[in-house]
């Protein structure tokens, strides 16, 4: 048995270091108190909310309608428009690329202005005009400083009514298009895009190469272009958005003096709806490249379906909320496997998908794919929590005002609002639509859309040969 002194000495030997540890621990804790609590600061931000009043006006002239948002703080005017059912999916099957070529030709002179003079007027007056095509639509825009609006409007009117379509311009336009086609497979990403459309849209018009077909382009004549434009650019198909330094009377006058001059045209024929369902396929495209790129595809939903907002929120949490999405946290932040992984909803007129993309080193592909699949199915099987939903809603509502940053983007947004029949009061109601989505709805959508694996198309990684 130890003497009392010895017990005391032993106790000191144990207790002293213990006290020191505790003291250091307490000191450490106090030294590590924060200068501020970021959560508290963020929580107070609602006190500084400024109301944004946006008025969307419906402008009409005869059978034409446009939406208008007036914005007079900066003297510019933006007009955005589409001709529905006039995109490259509607090109005659022996003239693949005609819509693209025609769109480019519209900038090559109109009325009395030959190509050079036309370009000069645009450039010297700061007027931006452009035309293009998507699969579904033929689109255009006109952006001008207010001071030069009369010149801008006159040019657009001439383009619609008297496109010149001069021969030498057409030749050069075709050559540029063919060069773009020639370069299409340079970058693995664009090679993948071509393959994706072919695979996912199979033998429908959406599978077409957006740039057209070489042999068809080579044969196009100026009378082909003229004939094409007469049937494509008809006011029956128009959807128009306007924003900036103009008022309702001026907006109506634009409809009257420019768009109403177009031929009315015939009622629209759409395409057949594509019912796409993924099967968990994996397709490999061989290419020697440092980073493999993968795109995924699954059944989605249309803008006006009851599933839209619930799916939008589920997808936002899975892969559309930047670096805080579940996929980003898993594959980028935690594993360092990829610089970017995303999922997003795409809607064409006749096809609605959930799409996604990620790039990883070829040797990491199998591991990355497994993670992607796990997160996808976890969403399908378990859905999301109430807390996740609350934060996602706040994120989408608090960023709402950023869409008013750019005048031309407003005009584009007004076109989309009309395309999807969202109504002139959409901007007033949008945050409520988000707020009103219930947890059960989101989880029902999660189960419906994320229970079956998507299809994968990968470039830069080869299928492993089974031994």
């Amino acid at each position: 048995m130890m003497s009392k002194t010895k017990v005391f000495q032993t106790s000191i030997k144990i207790l002293l270091p213990l006290c020191l540890i505790v003291a250091v621990g307490i000191g450490f804790f106090f030294n590590y108190t924060k200068d501020f609590d970021i959560k508290k600061i963020a929580a107070q931000s609602d006190n500084y909310q400024k109301k944004m009043a946006v008025k969307v006006q419906k402008i009409q002239y005869k059978n034409l309608t446009a939406y208008l948002i007036e914005e007079h703080s900066n003297p510019i005017i933006a007009i955005s428009f589409i001709f529905k059912h006039a995109g490259y999916a509607y090109d005659d099957k022996n003239q693949l690329g005609i819509s693209q070529i025609s769109a480019k030709m519209l900038l090559n002179g109109a009325g009395k202005y030959k190509e050079d003079e036309f370009a000069s007027i645009l450039e010297e007056n700061g007027i931006k005009m452009g035309f293009g095509v998507t699969a579904d639509d033929f689109s255009g825009y006109l952006i001008t400083p207010s001071a030069n609006r009369k010149t801008a409007y006159n040019l657009l009117k001439q383009v619609f009514l008297n496109p010149r379509l001069d021969g030498d311009s057409l030749e050069l336009t075709k050559q540029k298009q063919l060069m773009s086609l020639q370069k299409q497979n340079e970058h693995p990403h664009s090679q993948l895009s071509l393959a994706f459309d072919k695979e996912i849209y199979a033998n429908t018009a959406y599978a077409r190469n957006a740039l057209g077909k070489k042999e068809d382009i080579e044969k196009l004549t100026d009378s082909d272009i003229k004939k094409y434009l007469l049937q494509a650019l008809t006011s029956h198909k128009l959807i128009i958005g306007m924003s900036g330094d103009l008022d309702a009377a001026q907006a109506q006058n634009i409809l009257k003096e420019i768009f109403a001059k177009l031929p009315t045209g015939n009622p629209l024929d759409g395409l057949q709806k594509i019912e796409y369902y993924s099967k968990g396929k994996q397709i490999y495209i061989k290419r020697d490249t440092p980073q493999s790129i993968t795109r995924i595809s699954a059944h989605g939903t249309y803008r006006n379906s009851a599933d839209f907002y619930p799916l939008y929120l589920a997808n936002y949490i899975l892969g559309s909320s930047g670096l805080t999405s579940r996929l980003s946290i898993r594959m980028r932040e935690e594993q360092g496997l990829t610089y970017g992984v995303y999922t997003y909803l795409t809607m064409k007129d006749f096809s609605a998908l959930i799409e996604g993309e990620f790039s990883v080193a070829p040797q990491d592909y199998d591991k990355a794919k497994a993670m992607f699949e796990q997160e996808w199915l976890k969403m399908g099987n378990n859905g999301i929590s109430a807390k996740e939903l609350e934060l996602a809603k706040k994120s989408l509502i608090d960023s709402f005002n950023l869409r008013f940053a750019e005048t031309s983007a407003l005009a584009d947004m007004l076109v989309l609002m009309q395309k999807h029949n969202l109504g002139t009061d959409f901007l007033d109601n949008r945050n409520d639509y988000i707020q009103n989505v219930g947890l059960e709805q989101v989880n029902a959508a999660a189960k419906k859309y994320f229970s079956v694996l998507p299809d994968f198309i990968t470039i830069g990684k080869e299928e492993e040969k089974t031994k």
Binding site: F36, S45, S73, N74, D116, Y339
Partner: protein
């Protein structure tokens, strides 16, 4: 006084009071904090939104060659934890409050930016001011971001078939200068970066006296100056000393010709090395006008000659880039037509330049200026534009006044200055030709 004398007198009198009709580029105000932080506030009240940018005057040229990619990796690690905001929390707070945010690294600067509803301004300031001096990431975060920037390099650069060519061209242009190396680094240099390298760079360069804060949007100086003082005012300056890369002065001619797999067409570029913008004999603005004149748009002399008349190119571009401390660069790029050899294209380019010079007159000068200035109204639209433009120019050493007087400075370029600029570029500068071609079919 007779009538004629009165007339002359009036004209002279009035001309004394002629105020400049040219507007300032932005509605901007500037002040400096005692710790050296340069602050610029730009008002744009079209929507209750704000762009907040912190520009550190430190970038790829400030890290040593063997550690290329360091400044960029630090940029990534700025999101991975501070004394007050734990790893991952920055992104969460940003996303949850609808704050769009990102950052970028360039040769001379690293910029951190947020774009959000103006109600979030205090949150944003707290976050940015905090990571200006309290960065505190751990080893795991370091290893993770090191891996991520390796992936980024592969995805964004190495996957691009032209990158081998453009990086080699960059080396030839810049030689021993730190501008010769890619901002992203290479696989080897990224792997060579250590934890200590990052913290050393951070402490050396991330200081309020080496930074510019730009806030653009639905704010006023009166409103937000107290907030700026509250969050940025107490950060101590470390009196940053930066080594400016030496100017390249040697005249030489070089040519890089490369055939690469996957490349499907031929492109030709010519790069001319000039003194830095501010050290140019005549104003640097003459070179901006020169770039506009030569090949911007379909009516430019080079486009008309090479694309429409001679048919040796399908596209031509001119660019004057002054984003370097030591030099500026003037560049011409051509997409060469199929079946035209690059040598022929180069010859035709020289001839076209001669013709373009001969066509230089007051009218051409006035037209070029008009085109440049017609676009300025658009810069005042989205509040993000002002923050990006001002940050870029101020970090290069321009004063706010000089940037604000952009229109006046462009207008002041004379025909003689423009001709001098042309001669300086095409007769008195180092020239590097770059030719990128498809692989020859056997």
């Amino acid at each position: 006084m007779n009538n004629l004398q009165k007339c002359v007198f009036c004209t002279l009198f009035l001309s004394l009071f002629q105020t400049s009709a040219t507007a300032k580029l932005f509605n901007a105000e500037e002040f400096f904090l005692p710790n050296g932080l340069q602050v610029v506030i730009v008002q744009n009240h079209k929507a209750p939104i704000v762009k907040h940018m912190v520009w550190y005057k430190a970038g790829a040229v400030d890290n040593e060659a063997q550690k290329a990619g360091l400044a960029h990796l630090l940029e990534h690690l700025m999101f991975r934890g501070t004394k007050n905001v734990r790893d991952g929390e920055f992104n969460l707070i940003a996303t949850q409050n609808g704050i769009e945010n990102n950052a970028f690294t360039s040769f001379d600067v690293t910029a951190y930016h947020e774009f959000a509803d103006v109600k979030n301004l205090e949150t944003i300031m707290a976050l940015e001011a905090d990571r200006m001096h309290n960065l505190n990431f751990d080893k795991q975060a370091f290893l993770s971001e090191q891996s991520i920037v390796l992936q980024e390099r592969k995805q964004a650069i190495e996957n691009n078939p032209a990158s081998k060519f453009s990086e080699r061209l960059q080396k030839i242009i810049w030689n021993d200068s730190p501008y010769a190396l890619p901002v992203s680094g290479t696989q080897d240099t990224i792997k060579a970066i250590t934890f200590a390298d990052i913290t050393d760079f951070y402490h050396r360069y991330y200081s309020p006296d080496n930074a510019i804060l730009i806030i653009s949007g639905d704010v006023s100086k009166k409103e937000i100056k107290p907030l700026i003082n509250k969050y940025y005012g107490n950060i101590s300056a470390t009196k940053v000393q930066r080594k400016k890369p030496s100017a390249l002065t040697q005249k030489f001619e070089a040519k890089l010709a490369m055939s690469l797999p996957d490349i499907q067409s031929t492109s030709l570029s010519q790069t001319y090395i000039l003194p830095s913008f501010h050290s140019l004999k005549n104003s640097g603005y003459a070179y901006i006008v020169l770039a506009q004149y030569l090949a911007t748009g379909k009516t430019s002399p080079l486009y008309k000659n090479l694309v429409k008349d001679e048919k040796v190119a399908l596209g031509v571009q001119s660019q004057y880039s002054y984003a370097n401390q030591s030099n500026s660069l003037f560049r011409l790029n051509l997409i060469v037509q199929n079946n035209i050899s690059p040598d022929v294209a180069e010859e035709k380019l020289q001839q076209a330049l001669g013709k373009a010079y001969a066509a230089l007159d007051e009218n051409a000068l006035a037209t070029a200026k008009k085109k440049i200035l017609a676009d300025l109204v658009y810069e005042r639209d989205n509040p993000e534009n002002a923050a990006e433009i001002l940050g870029y120019w101020l970090s290069l050493g321009f004063t706010l006044d000089e940037v604000q007087n952009y229109e006046e400075n462009i207008q002041a370029v004379s025909l003689d200055e423009l001709k001098d600029a042309f001669n300086q570029v095409f007769y008195h500068s180092a020239r590097i030709s770059g030719i990128l071609m498809p692989e020859k079919k056997p």
